[in-house]
């Protein structure tokens, strides 16, 4: 048996069910490794003591019918966890301990999982490199001083570094898929409305979705099966029959029509990304899929549209952090002064930038030109996909226009940072499912990902295509444990 922490979720659950491993052993292995991995800065808050207790409790009365029997899991610090500090990577929630549990994490615990701790992320999930977190940047285990992507950077790093078997992140414009791509891991953003948003600190309500981040596609299907559920507490949750994704997982994609959108060949795209894409296409052909050239004509407008819609919603969603009810407060002589000080000191630069953009685009006199226009363009982008999906079953693109970059490389240039999301953002705007799988490496040996986009609620199909491609690609993450301390 290989080292516990390097095992996949599938292996760990099998070993637990076959009583080859106990929950206590597994939990302890991940905690021990975490203690030696502080350099990566993946944890904002750990839950190690309680996790040990819970694993012992599981072992004393195990229920092997559960889908995540006694499996310790760390989650992005955007999910509210009952009794465990939840910060959203922000100073303004530095001291916030929820008295309630998000639906998605509750789904994990209901299936036997145990909370290991809360993983670092960009402040309020705003960022593509985990550098906007109040709790400091996260190191990408792939290489020193490399960003792990964002906003779910703590999550992607933790999976890649074997600090949690699997994790869940949230994806508003690429926050699961881009960090997965940067760390050689698998990340799936489900169809909008699949996973409940109840109890997830909101960034942009019409775009936010929680999703699995895992070592491989099978684990991804197992985790999606657990977290995807209809929830009456979220009015945008959709009541439809969810698959048994792991049970129905299949590499048979013969005859599937896969679309290649020409608009994703962006200017200055590195050759290695172009090559990666070509390889993906030929693998898909090898699997018996039919490749079809398609057009998504409004792709160019996706990024500007996103950077109007998301900040607009964020500016309103973040108004509740005002120092009145919970979280950080900086006292003032009067209400206005208290607001100003609390929000100036409590929010970081990127969050403030987006609040200002959002406030601006919603202002009277600008609303029609920006927000309303963006909503119309969003409909056109969605229609592009609807048209494309009348011809194809799925769409294949690169996940990101580059591999992981150096810490600090883009912090002074927000727009170049935003460009990271160019391939992922349209999928959120259209509410579609998208998955990033590791598909190759660049000249520095840094991972690169391919993205498979599906029809609404067709997660099974993109999982199957990814499963087949994964097999052909046979990606091996080359991680040296360089950060480990004794």
């Amino acid at each position: 048996m290989s080292d516990i922490t390097s095992q996949s979720l599938f292996e760990l659950t099998s070993n637990i069910k076959e009583k080859k491993l106990s929950s206590g052993e597994i939990t302890k292995a991940f905690i021990d490794r975490a203690e030696k991995s502080k350099k990566l800065n993946v944890y904002v808050t750990d839950n190690f003591e309680k996790a040990i207790d819970q694993s012992k409790k599981f072992d004393s009365n195990p229920n092997f019918d559960l889908k995540l029997p006694g499996i310790p899991i760390a989650v992005k610090d955007l999910f509210c966890t009952n009794g465990v500090r939840t910060t959203a990577g922000s100073k303004i929630l530095n001291n916030f301990v929820p008295t309630y549990e998000s639906t998605v994490t509750q789904n994990l615990w209901s299936q036997g999982a145990i909370l290991l701790g809360k993983l670092n992320c960009d402040e309020f999930a705003m960022g593509s490199s985990n550098e906007t977190s109040f709790f400091g940047n996260v190191q990408n285990p792939v290489g020193e001083n490399l960003v792990p992507g964002g906003s779910s950077g703590g999550s992607s790093a933790a999976v890649a570094a074997n600090l949690t078997p699997v994790t869940i992140g949230t994806d508003t414009g690429g926050s699961i898929r881009q960090p997965a791509s940067f760390t050689g891991t698998v990340g799936l953003k489900p169809t909008y409305g699949s996973c409940s948003r109840y109890g997830i600190v909101a960034f942009a309500s019409s775009l936010d979705q929680a999703g699995p981040m895992t070592k491989n596609v099978r684990d991804c299907s197992m985790l999606l099966e657990v977290i995807s559920s209809f929830d009456q507490k979220d009015s945008t949750s959709i009541d439809y029959k969810r698959n048994n994704y792991s049970k129905e997982l299949s590499k048979d994609i013969k005859g599937k029509k896969i679309g290649i959108p020409k608009e994703y060949r962006v200017d200055n795209m590195p050759d290695e990304i172009e090559q990666l894409w070509k390889n993906g296409i030929s693998y898909a052909k090898d699997c018996g899929a039919e490749i079809i050239d398609i057009s998504l004509p409004h792709t160019n407008y996706a990024l500007p549209t996103y950077y109007i819609v998301a900040p607009a919603e964020a500016s309103s969603n973040l108004a509740r952090y005002d120092g009145v009810k919970y979280g950080f407060r900086s006292p003032g002589q009067n209400l206005i002064e208290m607001y100003e000080k609390t929000r100036s000191e409590g929010f970081g630069d990127e969050v403030k930038r987006r609040i200002m953009i959002g406030t601006y685009v919603l202002s009277s006199g600008y609303y029609d030109a920006y927000y309303l226009k963006a909503q119309k363009v969003r409909q056109l982008i969605k229609k592009d996909f609807d048209d494309a999906f009348s011809k194809v079953d799925a769409i294949l693109t690169p996940s990101t226009p580059s591999s992981a970059f150096k810490i600090g490389e883009k912090t002074n240039n927000p727009v170049s940072m935003y460009l990271n999301d160019i391939f992922t953002v349209p999928i959120n705007l259209a509410g579609l499912p998208g998955i990033s799988i590791p598909a190759g490496k660049d000249k520095n040996n840094y991972p690169l990902g391919l993205q498979v986009i599906g029809k609404p609620f067709d997660e099974q199909n993109i999982l199957n295509i990814s499963y087949a491609l994964e097999d052909k690609i046979n990606f091996k993450n080359d991680i040296s444990d360089w950060w480990l301390s004794e």
Binding site: F96, I200, A202, A204, A319, D322, L335, Y339, L362, S364
Partner: protein, 488 residues
Amino acid sequence: MSKNSEYLIERENKQYEVIIGLEVHAQVTSESKLFSQSSTKFGAEPNTQVSLVDAAFPGMLPVINEFCIEQAIKTGIGLKAKINKKSVFDRKNYFYADLPQGYQISQYKYPIVGEGKVILDMPNGQKEIGIERLHLEQDAGKSIHDIDPNNTLVDLNRSGVALMEIVSKPDLRSPDEVNVYIKKLRSIMRYLGTCDGNMQEGSLRADVNVSVRLKGQTEFGTRCEIKNVNSIKFMQMAIISEANRQIDLLEEGKDIDQETRLFDTKRNETRSMRSKEDAHDYRYFPDPDLLPLEISQELIEKIKSDIPELPDEKKKRFIDKFNLSPYEATILVSDIETSNFFEEVIKNSDVKLATNWITGELFAVLNEKNLEISQSPVSAKNLSKLINLIKDGTISGKIAKTVFEQMIDGDQDPLIIVKEKGLKQESDPKAIEELINKVIENNSDKVAEYKSGKDKLFGFFVGQAMKESKGKGNPQLINKILKEKLNG
């Protein structure tokens, strides 16, 4: 409306007309809030009826309370208004300590209810007031500034309670019309059970828009909005004071600034709250946490079929069926409790007497004791018994008043009072004749005077006979027999 009832404010030889529009905020009668399951009960300890949603905790999401939607539709039907099958909840963004989300969920571009109307019964006839729209929104919490010298305290019990904002067209022209309009609106909602209309508890408040113009002028003047006035009396005072302020400005050749004002009830004047330049930019946009609200025709029909008889229809029925005057009918239908009481009384008793007794004696007692009819000290059942005692001649109207006074004390049965106190009317002609004989015997001098032509003395004999009967003599019989004896 006839000319002589026009409300005009005079200045030298000019006459100004006052234009009024109301935005009424009516609390929806509902056990729980618009987007959460917290209780809406009035008067609880501060911050005891607050859910995580109401306090805007991170990750909390609004879930629409369908009952509140039905209540809004019901009210819309009561206002003869168009129900919009698709409406949208928007966020109205502003910062305030008692607004936990930093925005109020309201309806901006697409309200649930469109144009409707309310009919006012004015002394000179009916007047129709147009309704512009009705939309649903959340109430804010309450900021309390006078408990702690250094801090403002916040009570979130009211945060998230469902309100209907009912916007009238600028069709109102006088403080009297405002009075009748508010009462009519309240009456309709109370009939429907959609708002209890309790102004003391803040269930009904209004923003009052006032402008003035010279009589005969067709275009509107610049308006000011007086925020959050919570009684009809204050609305009327605010309108008079604000209209005069505006007229004074015009008379001095000054312009009126469009602004939001507050009414200071102690000084009886409005003062500026914020000018148009300082007006909030609420940055309305559709709430992405809520899907557009879609209402099926089926639901509308179902609600329609449950609508009770409303005041206008009831009034017509009372006039047609019971032959009441429009004035009597208006009074009796003005409040659902009153009309229910009336209909209960007339189940077993005379309509005309019931009308008189309810609008007369009973209302006087309620007014004096400052009670609602639902708290009436005399039940409908006992009042109808009393009316039957009058009708069948058991007691006179005069005795009935004595009995009624006693009934007030603990809703006593008039039959028992009459029996115990021996108040039954004496209607035996022989007994009456006997006591009249006695009166004639004892007043032979007066009899002589009467017979010599002093007709006015007849009343004296009636009085004496009544006194002899201890007030119980049947007045018709006394009259009849006295006449026979004295004239015979």
